[in-house]
């Protein structure tokens, strides 16, 4: 039921305008994951009526053109023991954002680092996703980052429940 609803919603979408129809079809065929087998692109090639070499070449082009960020495994970090996930939110003065953002990004513990608009109700403009094996590990990482960038005004917002995680689909 909810899956049908999701499909309806997805079909209601306008086209992703930078990707042509053939590539869109290719992405749709492999976006839920390839089979673990000797020739994982064979079925997709058949479906598209092209060779496997062509599928591989087009996939490489999509990566080269930054339409696909990477091709590889999505890992369930929780199953690996990375059970703590903290969103660090920081209030950084606008003129320091570039410098601070670059420094924050250099930490291995930080998987995502973004600047986002602050508001009266939520006065933070920098966001760092920090993954750790415990909340203490996340706190220690945030403290290290705070010292390194010289920013004391931050807060760690921990996740309590994963309500959905599935990666972007088109």
């Amino acid at each position: 039921m909810s899956e049908n609803r999701e499909k309806e919603n997805a079909n209601a979408n306008a086209a992703w305008h930078l990707v042509d129809e053939a590539d869109e079809k290719l992405i749709r065929l492999i976006q839920d994951g390839i089979e673990f087998e000797h020739s994982p692109f064979e079925k997709c090639a058949e479906e598209l009526g092209v060779s496997e070499e062509e599928v591989v070449a087009r996939l490489k082009d999509l990566i080269e053109n930054k339409m696909v960020r990477r091709f590889g495994a999505s890992i369930a970090h929780i199953a690996l023991g990375f059970t703590a996930n903290a969103m660090g939110v920081w209030d950084i003065s606008r003129d320091r954002v570039e410098e601070v953002g670059r420094k924050m990004a250099s930490f291995d513990e930080v998987s995502h680092c973004y600047e986002r608009p602050p508001s009266a109700d939520w006065p933070y403009n920098m966001y760092t996703m920090i993954h750790g094996r415990s909340q203490e590990e996340c706190r220690a990482a945030a403290e290290k980052i705070s010292e390194a960038v010289g920013a004391a005004d931050y807060k760690l917002v921990f996740s309590e429940r994963e309500l959905k995680k599935k990666g972007v689909r088109i």
């Binding site: 994951g33 339409m67 960020r69 590889g72 973004y114 608009p117």
Partner: protein, 187 residues
């Protein structure tokens, strides 16, 4: 399908009913440390996990290449990866789509929802295929989710529908600058 079983006489294919929230069908993943079963990983498992995240070979026979790279056979690689998938460590091996790269747009949004309405709110948000991640967090703004859509118009519509349906305060936090996006778990 379940509806069909319950009331066969009333079911009409053409009838389109708005989806309703059914608490019994809603099962989010809770993750408390104690509940996470630990999976034994041997040396090959570890090498595989580290390699397939950022250096997965895009080629006709990728598992053969991986086997050569770590000095084992394709059979071993495939059976190890299949086990890791069955154990829930690997979600999928596939393309990680760059929403903005294909002409779309995305945002991070948060809503402030009363505790008693969390399951329902989560259901309202998750029914959109465009919502990729959604977390309950320990804040007044307690539900945080990401939305990716082909156009700004579609994105705005999703957010406004969610806000209308939940009638609660919402933050819309689109990316201004992206400094890093690199998820890699080294084991």
């Amino acid at each position: 399908m379940t509806e069909m079983k319950n009331k066969p006489a009333e079911f009409k294919q053409a009838e389109v009913k708005p989806a309703e929230f059914k608490p019994a069908e809603f099962k989010p993943t809770e993750f408390k440390q104690a509940e996470v079963k630990s999976v034994e990983l041997d040396n090959i498992d570890r090498q595989l996990i580290n390699l397939i995240q950022l250096r997965f070979p895009v080629s006709k026979h990728p598992f053969e290449e991986i086997a050569a790279a770590i000095g084992t056979t394709e059979e071993v690689v495939i059976s190890k990866l299949t086990r890791l998938k069955n154990e829930g460590i690997i979600r999928r091996i596939g393309p990680i789509i760059n929403t903005r790269g294909i002409g779309g747009t995305n945002t991070l949004a948060a809503v402030k929802v009363p505790k008693s309405q969390i399951d329902e709110a989560s259901w309202v948000i998750n029914k959109y295929a465009e919502v990729s991640h959604n977390y309950l967090r320990n804040e007044d703004y307690n539900i945080w989710f990401t939305v990716s859509a082909p156009t700004q118009e579609r994105l705005d519509r999703i957010l406004s529908e969610i806000q209308t349906e939940l009638s609660c305060p919402m933050l819309n936090l689109p990316t201004i600058n992206q400094f890093k996006i690199q998820v890699n778990f080294h084991v």
